[in-house]
Symmetry: none
Subunit: 216 residues, 4 copies
DNA sequence: GATGAATGAGTTTTCATTCAT
DNA sequence: TATGAATGAAAACTCATTCAT
């Protein structure tokens, strides 16, 4: 029983619907609390079918996981291409905007990301953390290196430290946005969508002042 | 009938063990997935006893929650007193150290904090988010204001923005530390305990350069 | 999701057995004390199945309730048709016989009726009492009115009082029969099945002497 | 451990309170649903004490049962004495009034009576039904016999049948009153307290016309 | 391929009863 | 004598998984 073999042969529309419902469910409830009962009820298909397609609940989560990774990879590739010619700070700015757009378009996917970071009992969590780790190495490090080479960043900057710092505050910025977005009205950290653009600019300014090469 | 009345009368050692096991369980699994079965098995007591002490699963969680709030409050009060005479950047540095110490001493408590931020179905979550929100207002804002008044911070700094920024990167720094600490060996973000002191110094330097008043 | 949808698709024999066991259990123990554990044990099926079929304990009781209401309705319709041409006292006599036959055929169903009248915590109890109330209005009142019109009953009789009186003693007669029948051997009120026919005749004679139009 | 030995030694006030709370609880919930937890909470005493006094839940119920039997016995003895000189129909009338007064004064006790008749799993139920049975023999039969001897009742009346009939409608009358009284507002059978006196008179009239010796 | 009936271990919670203090 | 901590069986209900049709 090769996993997902049966699923692959389904018609496209049905596959999409199953994926949507699964993302919604895992995003809303995490892995263990996600209910296959609810999903098949929403989908209007038999519970047995899910097990025909994916073998297990974990098999279904694999689908969601791969989909999410693909979305992130695509988004990063895109922003990397689009900003290839721009300076370091603009690239950071664009990366943050891309993150915001990603959350707006795929809030449930980002929600799964948050759940996976802080919950131990997710399947694939180890692999997932690895992938996230590579983000720093594969995405941010070249940015920093290019920034140093082009003279946009201070030369005495430890690149690894800078990567860690950038990763931390960028991730945290998106977390704050997502939480305030998902908990509509909670107003956590006042990160309301309206002021996002302004906040990003301020963020980038602080980064520039902290890391930038030119004197104030 | 009064919640925890029965619990209060237990002998100290037993109370401590119950608290420990509960912190461990809620920290590892969140609220809904935490299993009272597992807890009483670990404790070697009867299932009914938990309900004698706390009335419900939620009642047990209240104990954990109050304990955590008390720990945090105590830690903050302490660091505030100890650094009253020092300059802004040193106070930030000491705050980060206090956070690191807190995680080292109460890693499971910090874990519950992370879970509560990113999991919707916790009891007391609204109250909890409120408390966290007050951290910015009550703890960081006076720090920033004093920094501006003493001429340690740039005068053109928007205090609320600075508070948000500080809160974000400090919180994120601690998150990164906690995750790498709890997922021992995962080495996420290379935030290994050894290099923590060095990382904190670098962090503070960046903050100083971004926000500080004096010219480089 | 639709209640009882799953149940409806079962094979007839199984459905009947479940209904029988449920009537037995609710009749013997009332609603709250009825045990699904006992039922599934008697039935030799898994506990989960009951919840697949009915969603909840209350859902299972709905089945029993609807079944009982249907039986009563059927029985009343039948006796009304069969006695349309007869005089008032014969109609009362036939109604009592129909009641006795009902108890003989469905003693457990009648037992549930008794429980619902005297136990407050039944689901559907309000609706049920309404249905019972309608019995007086819809069944007995036309009988009395026809009796008065045909000159079989005293003209100075308050119809509502007469209905109340008839309802009370007929109901009580059946209660006494049912209790002595169910508590086989208890001999309560000496209402042994053998002498029932004689008792009914005596009952009707008393009613005739109390309410009848003709002089003794 | 002689049952109730310990209870007997308590101070009178405490004993009364325990009895009151127990009557209330068993009357409201029946035997199995009655909760010793709730009772001790209301009483403000330790749960263990109940078991010291009565040995078991059933032992506690014995107290309630004996109390109820005593109340009924007292009430009947009273009305028997008070009406010794009056005619049959007045004695029946007074008996019904006594029943109504009993329900008004001890609604919970009457409630336990109703529960015991229609619920199989009461302790002492067999003995209880026996006691109820004796009510017909010991209370009503002498009344009927005296009525026949005094020429107030028809001479062709079978005394046992008359006793059964009287017992049935008197009991049913009180049931209807109790149910409408307990289900305040349900209006079952329109037996509202206001019209009780009028209803009793009508009842007695019907009995007189059915059983009485004199011609209309 | 799809279905959905069946399963049984899991969940939280209640409660009468016991017994050491 | 009174206490109340401890117990464990029982309750209703959920759900991933299996499998015959």
């Amino acid at each position: 029983m090769i996993p997902r073999e049966r699923f692959r042969n389904l018609e496209s529309q049905k596959k999409q619907k199953i994926l949507d419902v699964a993302v919604e469910e895992f995003g809303a409830h995490g892995f263990k609390e996600a209910s296959i009962n609810r999903m098949v009820h929403k989908l209007g298909i038999a519970k047995g079918s899910i097990f025909q397609y994916f073998g297990s609940k974990e098999g279904l989560f694999h689908l969601v996981f791969d989909h999410a990774v693909e979305l992130v990879r695509h988004s990063l590739r895109r922003v990397k291409q689009d900003t290839a010619e721009q300076d370091f700070f603009e690239r950071i700015r664009q990366s943050l905007f891309a993150g915001i757009r990603f959350i707006d378009r795929h809030p449930r996917v980002f929600h799964i990301y948050l759940k996976m970071v802080f919950q131990e009992d997710f399947p694939l969590r180890a692999e997932f953390l690895n992938q996230v780790h590579l983000f720093s190495a594969e995405y941010l490090k070249p940015l920093v290196q290019a920034g140093v080479e082009r003279g946009e960043l201070r030369t005495d900057l430890d690149p690894d430290m800078a990567v860690f710092f950038l990763d931390a505050i960028m991730d945290r910025f998106l977390q704050a946005y997502a939480v305030s977005f998902l908990d509509a009205g909670a107003g956590l950290y006042q990160a309301s969508p309206e002021s996002v653009s302004q906040k990003i600019d301020e963020f980038v300014r602080l980064i520039r002042e902290g890391m930038g090469a030119e004197r104030r």
